[in-house]
């Protein structure tokens, strides 16, 4: 049997994207828990998830250019499978309302939505659902007040969008399977 000449060593790109995905995976499988990203900001998520197979909407032109640099097509919000939004404004919420939610027939067509938020201060929320043993309470700030009713209206399980909220170098995941009660 031929042996590889040396033990394979991941390059910086592989280390970064592997760690970013691990944070996203853990965040989504344990909703409400914060996980550290290797680098702050949304560009790292774009690098980890996006390529020429993706259709992206960004409301930030600088980030849109970065996403396009990975080969993703820039499309209107209603056709995007990944959306990078500012959810602290009514305009951001209006775009979120257009995000594809898939259907019971094709739940995988529901979008992944990525936004900034402040963790640990602001609106108190109670989360229940898969990934949470009983319930977990979190506080999220810098988000428009209409977000949670909008999410409840759009996420008709198994259809819906999956939300990643980023606060500097940390991420929390709110999959469509999570029930959010505004306290």
């Amino acid at each position: 049997m031929t042996q590889l000449a040396a033990v394979p060593v991941p390059d910086a790109f592989e280390i970064r994207t592997n760690a970013t995905f691990e944070a996203l995976m853990l965040a989504l499988s344990r909703p409400g828990s914060a996980h550290s990203l290797p680098a702050p900001g949304m560009a790292g998520l774009a690098e980890t998830l996006l390529d020429r197979e993706c259709q992206v909407f960004c409301d930030d032109p600088a980030l849109a250019e970065i996403c396009a640099g990975f080969g993703a097509a820039l499309v209107p919000a209603a056709r995007a499978d990944h959306l990078f939004l500012s959810l602290d404004t009514p305009e951001g919420l209006a775009l979120l309302e257009q995000a594809p939610v898939g259907s019971a027939l094709y739940p995988d067509a529901g979008a992944t939505v990525i936004a900034s938020a402040r963790l640990g201060a602001g609106q108190r929320l109670r989360l229940t659902g898969p990934g949470i043993e009983t319930f977990t309470d979190i506080e999220l700030g810098d988000l428009a007040p209409g977000l949670w009713p909008l999410r409840a209206a759009r996420c008709r399980y198994p259809a819906g969008f999956d939300l990643f909220l980023i606060c500097e170098g940390r991420v929390i995941g709110l999959p469509r399977s999570t029930t959010i009660e505004v306290l």
Partner: protein, 304 residues
């Protein structure tokens, strides 16, 4: 964006065998699988140096998660030392530099064919199950488009019909492995051909489980603390295999899932199916200081 800017410098080898675009596609699908527990998500299923049907689905998920600090355990029907398990484990370590282990407690990533270890998995461990047939509805609906519509409608009545027919024909439910289970109260999944004994281990577990079928190009997940309820009738409770009273003839341990080994003359003896638990029990009996983890089953019973 041009082809030139998308092109990466030449490398002799992609870390973890899969190229970056294959990993990104798997990542996107794995996130969707976590978001809708038990729902089968299609993925591209690339070529790997192994024939489809030998664990290529599990292998691709494992390769996507691997990093140099990973500790990998691979089991085949409970055994770490079978040809299939040993080959996959050595391949994983060869392409990633990850450490290999037989010990469930030491592993961070466990790829398994048809068993879940007897020792409880922790929150920091990920279980990857290889799945030959991901579609629980296939015995009742061979047309996959119709089956998809049935999943969309949560139309699972015919699965109960199969179980009912087994009771009528044989007096009990004969479904030995791949027992269908309702995940998060919405999607029925097949938990891969794990024995009935192992299915309760997925219910409200600490760990994340991925189930991936390479030949069928579908993957699905059971996140931690997710309800996994086997399909049963209210008057016919779920029964695991009757192994609680069996004793392993090599280690003397009782109360776990056993392999039956036929003997000359018609009798049979039993040995632990989770081979490394057996090895640890034998070492401990012989006076070595070996840690046995807490197990799901205690005295042959799953605590409720």
């Amino acid at each position: 964006m041009t082809i030139a800017t998308l092109t990466k410098p030449w490398q002799a080898f992609s870390y973890g065998f899969l190229d970056a675009s294959a990993k990104r596609e798997l990542r996107r699908k794995m996130l969707k699988a976590i978001a809708v527990p038990g729902c089968q998500m299609p993925y591209a299923s690339r070529e790997v140096p192994m024939a489809r049907g030998w664990g290529t689905g599990g292998l691709q998920v494992t390769l996507t998660l691997l990093k140099p600090s990973s500790v990998v355990k691979v089991i085949d029907q409970g055994a770490d030392d079978s040809v299939n398990a040993a080959s996959i484990r050595s391949f994983l370590s060869k392409v990633s530099g990850a450490a290999e282990t037989w010990d469930t407690l030491a592993a961070t990533l466990i790829q398994s064919r048809h068993r879940i270890p007897e020792e409880r998995l922790r929150a920091d461990q990920v279980l990857v199950l290889q799945v030959p047939n991901p579609e629980p509805l296939r015995p009742v609906e061979p047309n996959m488009s119709v089956a998809r519509q049935m999943h969309a409608d949560a139309d699972y009545g015919r699965l109960w019909l199969i179980l009912y027919e087994q009771i009528v024909r044989s007096g009990r439910i004969m479904q030995g492995a791949s027992y269908p289970a309702l995940v998060n109260g919405r999607h029925v999944m097949t938990p891969s051909p794990i024995p009935r004994w192992d299915l309760p281990k997925l219910h409200m577990a600490q760990h994340l489980t991925f189930l991936s079928a390479g030949r069928e190009k579908r993957l699905y997940a059971v996140p931690p603390f997710t309800r996994v309820e086997p399909l049963v009738f209210s008057d016919v409770p779920y029964k695991v295999e009757d192994h609680a009273a069996l004793t392993c003839h090599r280690s003397g341990v009782a109360g776990y899932f056993m392999n039956e080994i036929p003997q000359d003359g018609g009798g049979s003896v039993f040995e632990l199916s989770d081979s490394h638990l057996g090895i640890k029990a034998i070492r401990r009996r012989d006076g070595e200081d070996v840690a046995l983890g807490a197990t799901w089953y205690e005295n042959g019973k799953m605590p409720r």
